[in-house]
């Protein structure tokens, strides 16, 4: 085929896919050129043969197979997952693992800090007492302190007669009265001239020694 036409060109011609002017030119050419006509006829026949595939029919069982198989696979995909998977999803719904772990780590850190603060608060002595610095009585005077009157509040210990008497003692260095959270208990601490001797005594709400 030395006419300047390619087989691909004829392949378009046989299906009418060339512009009308070119169609006309090719028609004129193949009317006079045997080899080109032969190629064109061969192409047309092969296209006719190809078009026989249009009449292919599918067995209904093949269609049913596809249908059943697709629906089964979709049903399997939609089956509810096992309980442990559901639990995991409930716990970490919407999270990726790394974010979930980061969240847990943050929670542990916050809890640790909170516990540390609580522990520190717990270790600190709960001393709401007021310290009264007075001239402490002598050891002997301290021992002879009479009971504090019942109505004496903690912060008025120093003004109580007994305390005043303790304060009058010449050898005493310092008197400290302490209360804790219990309003009815008063702790009295007596420092003497000898630093190795400190005397404590507790007074109940009635001013009685315990």
């Amino acid at each position: 085929m030395n006419c300047g036409y390619s087989e691909e060109y004829f392949a378009l011609f046989i299906e009418g896919e060339l512009p009308s002017t070119e169609m006309h030119d090719v028609e004129l050419h193949i009317a006079s050129c045997d080899s080109c006509r032969e190629v064109t006829v061969d192409l047309w026949q092969s296209q006719e043969f190809v078009r026989t595939l249009r009449s292919d029919s599918l067995n209904s069982s093949v269609l049913a197979n596809v249908h059943v198989s697709v629906m089964n696979q979709l049903a399997n995909r939609r089956r509810p997952p096992e309980w442990w998977i559901q639990t995991e999803r409930a716990l970490f719904a919407g999270f990726r693992w790394k974010y979930a772990l980061a969240g847990v780590a943050s929670l542990v850190l916050v809890c640790g800090i909170a516990l540390g603060i609580l522990w520190k608060l717990h270790k600190t002595p709960v001393n709401t007492a007021q310290t009264l610095k007075v001239d402490a009585p002598a050891l002997s005077a301290a021992i002879s302190i009479p009971p504090i009157p019942r109505s004496t509040p903690v912060n008025r210990v120093a003004s109580a007669p007994a305390a005043r008497r303790v304060a009058d003692a010449p050898q005493a260095k310092q008197l400290t009265a302490t209360t804790n959270d219990y309003p009815h208990t008063t702790m009295v601490k007596l420092f003497t001239d000898d630093p190795s001797i400190v005397i404590y005594w507790a007074l109940d709400g009635n001013g009685e020694m315990q």
Partner: protein
Amino acid sequence: MEVATLWMSGIEPKREGAVPVEITALLERAIAGDISAFEQILKLHQRRVLMLSWRLLGNLDDAQDSAQEVFLRAFKYLHRLDTSKPVEAWLVRITINVCRDFGRQRQRRQKLESEYRSPDKTDLNPFTDVASGEKREMLRQAIASLPHKERAAFVLRDIDGLPTAEVAAILKSTETTVRSQISIARVKIRKAIEQLQGGRS
């Protein structure tokens, strides 16, 4: 034979119409997760998908697997579908992509088979060892042996009978490119048929 009759025997183009309201409603239900609605879509289009897969792959077993994969993929990506456009074109596009993947897998498989095939086994060339009564089957094999893009264009245009513009739209290509691919494919098929006829004689 009159030349005019050669191209007059061409293909009646199928025209795309508007998407019927029922189909749109069905699609919307399927997108919302209604599996029975999807089943109806499957019933409407499975023949078309299976047939196209068969023509592209040249093998009915592979075509069944391919059609299954097409519908599973369609279900997975249903939310991406524009319901105002025909679902068939979308399914055809998925089918072409799935068949391309199947074709690649088959090529790898055949390569492995050829590497490990024992020397006493016969050549698997369909044009040399298949009986002449299986002419159509060999034609399918010849079509399946075309390069993917040529094959898709050829099958859609010449067997499925879609107009060139529609084929170009499905393949996301131009009409000129599609025409070029089709013309090359036609010549290759003609040569394959010629070999087939030579084998018979």
